[in-house]
Point group: none
Chain length 417, copies 2
Amino acid sequence: MNGRKEHNGGGSLHNIILVVLDGLGDRPCGELGGKTPLQAAFRPNLNSLMRNGQGGLLSPIAPGIRAGSDTSHLSLLGYDPQKFYTGRGPFEAMGLGMEVRGGDIAFRANFGTRDASGIITDRRAGRLSLGNDELARSLNMEIDGVRFMVKEGVEHRAALVMRGEGLSDKITDSDPHETGRAPHDVAPLSSEAEFTAKVLNKFLRVSRKVLDEHPVNVQRRKNGKPQGNELLLRGPGMVPKLTSFEEQHGMRAACVSAIPMISGIGGLLGMAVVKPEGATGTLESNFVSKLKEAARLSREYDFVLVNVKATDVAGHDGDALAKKNAIERIDEALGEMIRSLASETVLAVTGDHATPCSLKDHSGDPVPVVFSAPGILPDAAIFFDEFSAAAGMWRIRGLDVMNILKQMAGRSEKYGA
Amino acid sequence: MNGRKEHNGGGSLHNIILVVLDGLGDRPCGELGGKTPLQAAFRPNLNSLMRNGQGGLLSPIAPGIRAGSDTSHLSLLGYDPQKFYTGRGPFEAMGLGMEVRGGDIAFRANFGTRDASGIITDRRAGRLSLGNDELARSLNMEIDGVRFMVKEGVEHRAALVMRGEGLSDKITDSDPHETGRAPHDVAPLSSEAEFTAKVLNKFLRVSRKVLDEHPVNVQRRKNGKPQGNELLLRGPGMVPKLTSFEEQHGMRAACVSAIPMISGIGGLLGMAVVKPEGATGTLESNFVSKLKEAARLSREYDFVLVNVKATDVAGHDGDALAKKNAIERIDEALGEMIRSLASETVLAVTGDHATPCSLKDHSGDPVPVVFSAPGILPDAAIFFDEFSAAAGMWRIRGLDVMNILKQMAGRSEKYGA
């Protein structure tokens, strides 16, 4: 499975599973008597990992930085977001399930309403929802050798991806960012972007005609509803050209995720992307099937990333009890997974950021992390939660995780002699 | 008071107070039975903060680096000294209370003694003290559009600030750094500094004449004392052009300090600089008035920095008992401050470096830090001192402090989605 020479003085190479419980970290919750959902949860398997392994606190980017899932997963996989995170456009597009490639230009987009005089009267087209997929599809076209791909998101939201030679993301928004004004022509911010701006303005002119005549908008006009007849573009970014995970780390890798953005990052890194049956990215997701699939894949691949989204969903909902319950079900599924692993598998469990129920959003708090690997020295931490993890030996950043995992798996090159 | 949009999912924005106890950290002191002054001090308020908050150890720059107050305060305020610290000249000038601006060129200076043949016979002019202010004042002049400002320090010490268009700090010292030699003409180290060197050499020629004829020196000649008739320049640096604190962090800020250098940094960052009545920067300083003023300002400003110098003074004096007593009085004043704070204020207390009494100088030891904020999870640390803080969750650098404070105050931008 792995063609590279053995490291660590010829010791055996172990395979690795990295389980990321999305938005795992939390703060004291009133409903849980001042405990965090992790502290309140029955979590024998997570605690057993901590008792027998090494733990600590992880800042996904750096202490205090409020990470997004995109920047955090890049870090956890060993790709410095300060170098490779090119803005939200590309990751939003991936989040909508668009298959993007290094060099593509991606925008966040809204369907907005443009009146007869060309003025934007509603930047969200009345939050149109029905038919947004048809509107998006109608804008897929090719102009001057550049492919334009649009995909709808929730309500008026969408993303645009441009693919072709010689494109640049050094261009302005078409979104005027307020009503009562006409959409802007996009403008190049440097000479290398002149072609991009020109072809994109052509696309916008064509798209206005297509959208004005689209049956969905004809119907909305009839019903007196705001049309979705202007694609407002903002936040352009070039999809980063990333070294494949295999080239970067010397491991063939799989990504188990029900979340398009995480799957998108996996795809961009050349990982095998797997969405197991019943894995939905919701609180009702089938954690057992997801983690069992990870165990199965860990015999076939050197490295497996698993993202479990339910914890983040509960955090954004501010539902501490649901988060606690999700953790208990994940813990049970983790137990099943661990029992089916090859005995020498290296395993880490952590979060990509905290999503405290009290905030209903990401915070910059550190998250607990645990490493389990054959032969390592356990530390003093014996429970897996935000408080107890501080008794562990590690205070690390997301970018440290792959280095620690690889050395525990006997897969590190020596730095020096 | 704060015009920016609210972060953390619309949670409320809290105001922040950062209390820096200068030179706080210490090592075991014989006079205190082997305890540090912090360990020996009755400090119920600091301990209460630690018990209810999050703590740990802070390396102002990086582990083991012996920080100055200047580099440390830059770090603590979120400005990387590796990028912005341009040498001692500018900060010495600020330390003497000179108002400097980004782009000014500042030197450390000595009044030295030049004999009739032009040779430096004493680099410190017999540590002249009386009249050094008059000598300094006599050198304020304008040449070729460049303003020269000189201010005296302790004994023979002084600083020179040059202000004008097109100046550069890429020039050599005029100080020969040993007696028995003539002062150097300053020389440009790059072509951009040619004008600076030329106008500065002009200034030095004029200044020799002014100083030779100055009544203070005439009198010293009469009394057979070494004259202060040569301004010896070394350590040039351009005052850094720093993004204002408000632009950098999105907070209107005040700086409470009795120390010119700290006030100078605050001024350079556009903070409102306040020196409360009775605040002297000495062991006899009025801590209550200083910290009460900080509490008052925290209702008017989003962020308040307070520097308390007494701990550093006692450390430099090697007086462990005085340091312990200062800490006890500061703790009492902190208690009064805390009682008068808005309930949701975010508060951190730390040092800018250690000044162990056994060394009478700064060391590279880490210093304890504590964060208190609404809704955060307390950690295992329950006492505020160099030993006990290690039970806390944090191991951080100065540059992390603002990120942690802002996220606790609900004032962080998310990095990613």
